[in-house]
């Protein structure tokens, strides 16, 4: 419900006391956000038109950084890799997360314990999780290969080639975040009125039909929001790649966030790093805008739009 009652009255807008109160309460937050997000963003935007590099003189270079980055094959390759990474990771997270939520929906014994175990990866600090996985997947000392070998499966030389490196990163990324999908999906499934399912059952619908025609459509808005968040967060993934492979072997696992980091902090090209950051922000805003629009369209009927 909005407190803004902006009614045209003799060519003027009247603002009531509630609106003033809302503005007063939100004002400080808005000022803080302006100071710590908007101002630095503008500063970064200005920097993206310079060749700023710490310890060196700075010159204005116009659009040169943007032109260079967009025409750079390394950036283009990182962009393609990033898209593949996002599609794979988010796809797997949605499938696994939803699958587990559907399982947990049933009256399983020790359901609380299962839920706690599933949520645990989400609670672990990203760096701790990544370092732990790095050791677990180590081809020389790692427990994963030891267990695979002990069970009679062929071992995998993780992080030794482009394929196994990307696979290792995807495994870690999915493990770390699928529980977010599980939690939201589980809550959405639990919110479905039991009458709907019961009515479908009385009409002779089996589990596949109930899932397809009752449950999935009803939890779709929640899934859309989860997917939107996961896409945005996965798009800017950094910690896993930086800690496990550093973008290697070669540049085979280098994605956009790592490309940005290298430009800014390895090569000390702050101007190019800022331009990369703005390109990433632009891509994220466009994607988020598109997804939000799609999600809201699916969520509300025409009357509420």
């Amino acid at each position: 419900m909005s407190h803004v009652h902006a009614k045209p009255a003799a060519g003027r807008y009247r603002i009531d006391a509630n609106t003033w109160l809302a503005a007063a309460l939100l004002g400080p937050v808005a000022i803080v956000l302006l100071a710590i997000i908007v101002v630095p963003s503008i500063d970064l935007f200005v920097m993206s038109f310079t060749d700023a590099s710490p310890g060196m003189d700075t010159e204005w270079v116009g659009w040169k950084n943007y032109v260079r980055i967009l025409s750079n094959p390394d950036f283009q390759a990182a962009l393609v890799r990033n898209v593949i990474f996002v599609v794979t990771v988010v796809g797997l997270e949605m499938l696994i997360g939803l699958g587990i939520a559907l399982l947990l929906e049933n009256p399983l014994p020790l359901r609380g314990l299962w839920m706690a175990l599933i949520v645990a990866p989400y609670a672990v600090s990203p760096i701790v999780a990544v370092v732990m996985w790095k050791y677990m997947l180590d081809p020389n000392f790692g427990v994963v290969n030891f267990m695979m070998g002990s069970a009679g499966f062929p071992t995998v030389a993780w992080f030794t080639s482009a394929g196994t490196s990307m696979a290792g990163i995807i495994v870690i990324a999915v493990w770390k975040e699928f529980s977010f999908v599980t939690i939201v999906s589980f809550a959405a499934l639990k919110a479905i009125p039991h009458d709907f399912v019961e009515a479908a059952r009385i009409d002779g619908a089996g589990y596949p039909q109930i899932l397809r025609f009752i449950k999935l459509p009803m939890i779709l808005p929640a899934l859309s929001i989860v997917m939107m968040f996961r896409i945005i967060y996965t798009l800017r993934e950094f910690a896993i790649v930086h800690t496990t492979t550093g973008g290697g072997p070669g540049t085979s696992t280098e994605i956009l966030a790592l490309y940005l980091y290298k430009q800014a902090f390895r090569y000390l090209n702050f101007g190019a790093g800022a331009a990369t950051g703005w390109l990433m922000l632009l891509a994220t805003l466009l994607l988020a805008g598109f997804l939000v629009r799609r999600t809201y369209r699916g969520m509300f009927t025409e009357r509420y739009r």
Binding site: S53, P54, G55, M56, K134, D138, P139, N140, A157, W158, F159, T160, S161, A162, S165, T244, T245, G246, G247, G248, P249, G250, T251, S252, K262, F265, R266, Y267, L268, N269
Partner: protein, 437 residues
């Protein structure tokens, strides 16, 4: 006129004198308790200075300074973290961090904006033996435009380290003198123990950031180089191509560990300590880290020179120049207490402190300490010989960070991803020329 001092007056004077003395000392002690200096460095620097970790049992060389002058707070980071801290904190007008260990690779004109010149401090209170006792090349690398920005503290070279037990098990005798012998012995030294544990014949760092150093060593075995001191890019010449092809062959044949692309210094040291590597490129100061604590290779490691192609042998030199490296200690421009910061630098450079730090595993930077240690430690003798003919892996340049990364990526592409060596090196050389021209 005769002056008589009464007993009471004498007692009163003594009491006043003692009181004044106590008052004089009290603030000094209190000051030592309250003052603090913050130093940023690697864990190995901390271990060397504090006699911790692999150096446990040695002398804490900061204890005297902390008792008399100020507490020392040590912020530990990796090489990358320190590089980032240097350019981030270095630009601040005021910083809690006072001093930082700076890698030789970062010793370029950028330092002028991050660090405080030390000339005035040295002129006022000289550092014992500086600069005469230090390697002139390293002092020159620490000096930009006649201003001294750091004092070399931890210096070293790279040598070839062998696990004699593994070599014996594999039936390998002697140490390799040429790259071809290195390959053959590494191949023979690759085996699987009865318990299924794989032993790799050769280990070297493969992570992108360190790779340029180990690759420079490999290239110099064939008489090549990466970028010459006069900034000529020779990365794609014959010696480099041969080295890249040899590493690729070793990788494909399983002589070097499969996770080579993520093998950094600490991982390589761990692998060597576990007895999982027969030979490895390693710093001359890594002996203590290889053999310290619960190491499986205690007493069975030997250092030797990095091999050199036989056609490059001379009457005097039959080994590769390998590489030299160093860490200097500098003071941030915005350091809170520069006087105390400089006092700590002076303390760390005292000959007696240098000697104790060297016993804790630090590579010395002064010629006399090198000579002294060379009498009893074979690796220091090797290091002394290498210092006479060697140079850093890459020359100083503000864009060298980008060059390092590119070399790492290129080599990983060749060795792990199987890209053709010559074409890949040609491409990288062209890119590097664009970066440093």
């Amino acid at each position: 006129m005769k002056t008589t001092i009464t007993r009471r007056a004498l007692a009163a004077t003594t009491a006043i004198a003692l009181g004044l003395l106590a008052a004089w000392n009290a603030p000094a002690n209190a000051q030592a308790q309250n003052r603090e200096v913050t130093l940023m460095g690697l864990e190995v620097h901390l271990n060397n200075l504090r006699a911790q970790g692999f150096a446990r049992g040695g002398v804490d060389t900061l204890a005297d300074f902390e008792r008399d002058v100020a507490k020392v707070r040590f912020n530990v980071g990796t090489t990358n973290v320190l590089q980032e801290a240097l350019q981030r904190i270095g630009l601040l007008n005021r910083s809690e961090e006072d001093l930082i260990f700076v890698n030789f690779a970062d010793a370029n004109i950028r330092l002028r904006n991050f660090l405080q010149p030390l000339n005035d401090y040295v002129a006022k209170e000289p550092i014992a033996g500086f600069p005469q006792a230090w390697s002139p090349g390293m002092v020159a690398a620490s000096t930009l435009g006649n201003q001294l920005y750091m004092v070399p503290f931890r210096c070293g070279t790279f040598t070839l380290w062998s696990n004699t037990e593994n070599a014996k098990t594999a039936g390998v005798s002697g140490i390799p003198k040429t790259p071809e012998e290195l390959y053959e012995q590494a191949k023979a030294g690759t085996f699987t123990r009865p318990n299924g544990e794989k032993v790799f014949g050769f280990g070297l760092r493969g992570d992108k950031w360190s790779l340029n150093e180990d690759y420079a060593m490999a290239v110099r075995m064939f008489g090549g180089d990466l970028v010459t001191p006069d900034m000529k890019v020779v990365l794609n010449e014959a010696g480099s191509v041969k080295a890249a092809e040899m590493l690729r062959r070793m990788y494909v044949e399983g002589i070097i560990p499969p996770n080579w692309a993520t093998l950094d210094g600490s991982s390589l040291i761990q692998l060597f300590r576990e007895g999982r590597v027969t030979m490895a490129f390693g710093a001359s100061s890594w002996g203590a880290q290889f053999e310290g604590g619960e190491s499986k290779v205690k007493g069975i490691t030997i250092p030797s020179h990095v091999p050199l192609s036989r056609d490059l042998w001379t009457d005097k030199v039959t080994y590769s120049p390998s590489i030299v490296w160093f860490w200097g200690i500098g003071m941030f421009k915005g350091a809170t207490d520069k006087d105390i910061g400089y006092q700590l630098i002076r303390h760390m450079m005292k000959p007696e402190v240098q000697r104790e730090v060297a016993k804790n595993g630090n590579g010395p930077c002064t010629a006399d300490l090198f000579a002294e240690m060379a009498k009893t430690q074979p690796v220091m003798k090797l290091a002394q010989e290498i210092f006479a003919i060697s140079r850093t892996p890459l020359p100083a340049h503000p864009r060298m960070g980008q060059v390092r990364d590119l070399i790492g990526e290129t080599l990983q592409n060749i060795v792990v991803n199987g890209a053709p060596a010559k074409a890949e090196l040609d491409k990288a050389a062209a890119q590097i020329r664009g970066m440093i021209d």
